[in-house]
């Protein structure tokens, strides 16, 4: 019941309407009972087709009746000649078309048309393509019809070239046609495949698309279809699986492997650890949450207890040789095939060691993936959009695209401009202010990771207006993290920071400690001036074995001695500071 305006009517009008409806209902009810009784008696005949057509004409979503018609046709197929059947199905198509003219959004009607076309002796697919053209002229966004078109195209083997041409004609008719842009995104990888390109589309074809979509947003810079498509063209390809970071520690007998993509160690997936080429048997791996979910980070250490039905437990057997040098290799195995691996060498004196996948110096690991295109093409693209920005100073789509292009081209050179433009976006598009804030937070961390040389051990992000800490999975070696004086509201995914010893989250908007659980090395946690109000919100900290020092001064919870007492009971052995020092 969409888009039906409520109209105030006079008593007279209401009475007339009521009478009319009563009459309609009488006919409707009589027809429906007749159909159901005929079906019950197994009378799947032409009369059933006739009566059910009357009902479906006014109520095409009555799905059961379409089913009855299908059953009837399958029954009649057994006795009728091919010519008779063809004639019947042709008239069914005419009936369906008349239904679609009244309601072109009924799932049941469109599906029934598929059934008829697949069942009739001589389907005329060209006629169906014409019908789609016709309906898409009337409503170019009707997704039912677009889907039916794809069905027809598949059955009739219409070449994708022809369909790409069709989508172009729709776009030339009206750039604001999201359905057509969508269709192009599906056709291009089929027509111009290039497995080496991140999106699987050849560069030449992508360049043409850039041109086309530019025409679109120069014509109507406020139309979002063009911009969504443009962002796709700038988009990154899928990452390949690899090891981001591999850490071993003799002190805790632990190994941590961080991958680029999510995995779940289980029946078909395993991480094999070899010490001096000898495979370690019976290792157990868990993710930072110790949940059954997929994760990019997997951890194995000695002494990890696995409870099975809360009765039995087994311990993990990881044991790194003491006082001798050794080489250790971690390999990801999926369905018996090695996917990727990482290797490191422990000297006699090494307590722990890590290896982080190298990236070319002076470039960004994030912007490289951002675009499929060469930088000179992106540079030209930036130039033309900057020109557009001169005319369209307050257009958020233009400003956002400038930001994304600059990020893809050179996030360091353009850092100031990117940040300034993000500030402008917050003002221009207030409804999505938090989207831009998060985007800014993401860019800041990406730049930090890109500009750091070697392993990142200490991170100072104090007072950066951060709303969120992105990419914690890329920071497994950080020991000291200062995030004080930001706008962070939660610590989700902080438990990827497996080396973290000291965390300063003071003066933020943190309401609970979710995400801090199972941090094996966390000793000091500063949470001054946040929004923590209940002992329960500290529960995750119970699983941090080394936590000694917790500062919560200036939080609402400090106002109640009872609550503080409960908190002390919850976190025995932790020094809890209530006053700022």
């Amino acid at each position: 019941m969409h888009g039906r305006l409520k109209v105030k009517s006079t008593a007279e009008q209401l009475e007339a309407k009521k009478k009319e409806r009563e009459k309609k209902l009488q006919l409707y009810n009589a027809a429906t009972s007749k159909i159901i009784s005929k079906k019950k008696n197994g009378e799947l005949d032409e009369e059933l087709l006739l009566v059910s057509a009357e009902v479906l004409a006014v109520n095409p979503d009555f799905y059961t009746l379409w089913n009855y018609r299908k059953e009837t046709f399958l029954e009649l197929q057994k006795t009728k000649s091919k010519e008779e059947l063809q004639k019947m199905f042709l008239s069914e198509l005419i009936f369906l078309e008349s239904c679609l003219r009244v309601n072109h959004k009924s799932y049941g009607t469109w599906h029934h048309r598929c059934f008829v076309m697949d069942t009739m002796p001589e389907p005329d697919w060209n006629r169906e393509l014409e019908l789609c053209n016709d309906f898409l002229k009337y409503d170019e966004r009707n997704f039912h019809c677009w889907d039916y078109r794809r069905f027809v195209v598949k059955r009739a083997n219409v070449p994708p070239e022809a369909e790409l041409k069709f989508s172009l004609s729709k776009i030339n008719n009206n750039f604001s046609n999201y359905s057509s842009w969508h269709y192009r995104s599906k056709l291009l990888p089929v027509l111009y495949p290039d497995p080496k390109q991140p999106m699987g589309v050849s560069e030449e074809a992508l360049l043409k698309e850039y041109e086309l979509v530019q025409n679109g947003f120069f014509t109507d810079p406020d139309d979002q279809s063009n911009w969504f498509y443009h962002r796709w063209l700038m988009g990154r390809g899928e990452q390949v699986q690899g090891v981001n970071c591999f850490i071993v520690s003799r002190l805790d007998n632990s190994a941590i492997v961080s991958f680029t993509k999510h995995i779940k160690v289980g029946k078909a997936t395993d991480i094999v650890l070899e010490i001096n080429n000898t495979r370690q048997e019976h290792l157990t791996w868990h993710n930072p949450d110790r949940s059954s979910l997929f994760s990019t980070m997997w951890i194995s250490f000695d002494g990890y207890l696995i409870f099975s039905l809360n009765i039995n437990y087994i311990t993990n057997d990881l044991c790194l040789p003491k006082n001798e040098e050794c080489s250790i290799r971690a390999t990801l195995i999926e369905n018996d095939a090695a996917i990727c691996s990482s290797c490191l060498h422990l000297d006699v004196s090494d307590d722990s060691k890590s290896v982080t996948s190298s990236r070319p110096s002076g470039s960004s690991q994030f912007s490289q993936e951002l675009s499929a295109l060469k930088s000179d093409v992106l540079q030209q693209e930036l130039q033309s959009i900057l020109e557009l920005m001169e005319m369209e100073t307050d257009n958020k789509w233009v400003v956002l695209t400038v930001v994304l292009l600059m990020k893809a081209l050179d996030p360091f050179k353009y850092e100031m401009e990117i940040m300034n433009n993000l500030d402008r976006l917050e003002a221009l598009d207030f409804k999505r202010v938090n989207y831009y804030k998060d985007l800014r937070s993401k860019f800041l961390v990406e730049n930090l990771i890109d500009t750091s040389e070697g392993d990142i051990k200490s991170v100072d992000l104090k007072g950066k207006k951060l709303t969120k800490l992105y990419h914690t999975e890329l920071l497994p070696l950080v020991t000291v993290l200062d995030l004080s004086d930001n706008h962070v509201q939660e610590a989700k995914y902080f438990n990827h920071l497996q080396s973290l010893v000291e965390l300063n989250l003071s003066t933020n908007g943190v309401q609970n400690c979710e995400g801090l659980q199972h941090l094996p090395k966390l000793e000091k946690l500063l949470l001054r001036d946040n929004r923590l109000s209940s002992p329960l919100s500290f529960q995750p900290l119970q699983s941090c074995p080394k936590l000694k020092h917790l500062n919560i001064s200036g939080n609402p919870i400090c106002e109640s001695e009872d609550l503080i007492e409960q908190l002390r009971e919850l976190l025995t052995g932790v020094e809890i500071i209530l006053k700022s020092s």
Binding site: H111, F143, H182, G235
Partner: protein, 330 residues
Amino acid sequence: MAAPIKDIVIPDSAPTSLMLQKHADYIAAYGNRKDDYEYIMTEFLRMNGMYWGLTAMALAGQLDRMDKSEVVDFIHKCQHESGGFSCSIGHDPHLLSTLSAVQILTLFDALDSVDTAATVKWVKSLQQPDGSFFGDRWGEVDSRFSFVAVACLALLKSLDQVDVDKAVEFVLSCMNFDGAFGCRPGSESHSGQVYCCVGLLSITGRLHHVNADQLGWWLCERQLPSGGLNGRPEKLPDVCYSWWVLSSLKIIDRLHWIDKEKLVSFILACQDEETGGFADRPGDMVDPFHTVFGLAGLSLLGDTSVQPVNPVFCMPEAVIRKLNIQLQYL
């Protein structure tokens, strides 16, 4: 030539506060109009309609006003030998009505009044080699049906009965250039479909396949100047999308990317002060469908006079929690 943004203007006279009691009264009375034209013409939706109405009552905290035994008896009569449920007595079974039936029985804690083993078997029989699900024996495929099947089995604690990996694979093949999802591989993105696919990935613990920033951006761009949300680019706002878009944003932890206050005003403006109930847009006719999604949307937006709603199942959070169903949220 610039196309004007499709949107509405909220009239000054539109309601600005929640009339919860009126909505509960509207729903409670809805089932009493069995000779009504509207009621008869929507019989093919009865089971879904009952789920919408009963969930609305539960969210209003007034489920006890409804006649449980009458409802359970009706559902019982809608179960077919195959195990599936139809929308009304004598109609054909379909996955859409089957989930509604299972949801209602869960709400009433009355699953033992039907043959759930048969239901599980029937749902399982509808899975195809590519992982997709037929809606019924006539073979329509839609990512909605994938969600419905998986949600139904999760409520019946029988998710292990189908090939979950394949089901996930199919849903992922419906993902598009904008990070959102369509009905079938190749179909255009649509917020209703996004809700279904993201919901399925939450139930199966596979949300890592979603590019949350990309999808979140597409979803938050559904908000129009009026504050309402549309289902696809260049479409009008509609209260039901306060549910499809909002619950998806909630599951992928991007709910803060829209202007909550403006959306609340839009939803409230869709109430009918005279009759109770919500319409799709201010000034239109109300119905139970928009009423439940209006209330559920307000619940997600933090209105504490409405019971907390579960974003995956669109049922009271307390009911889902009691069942101890594991759901993933980013």
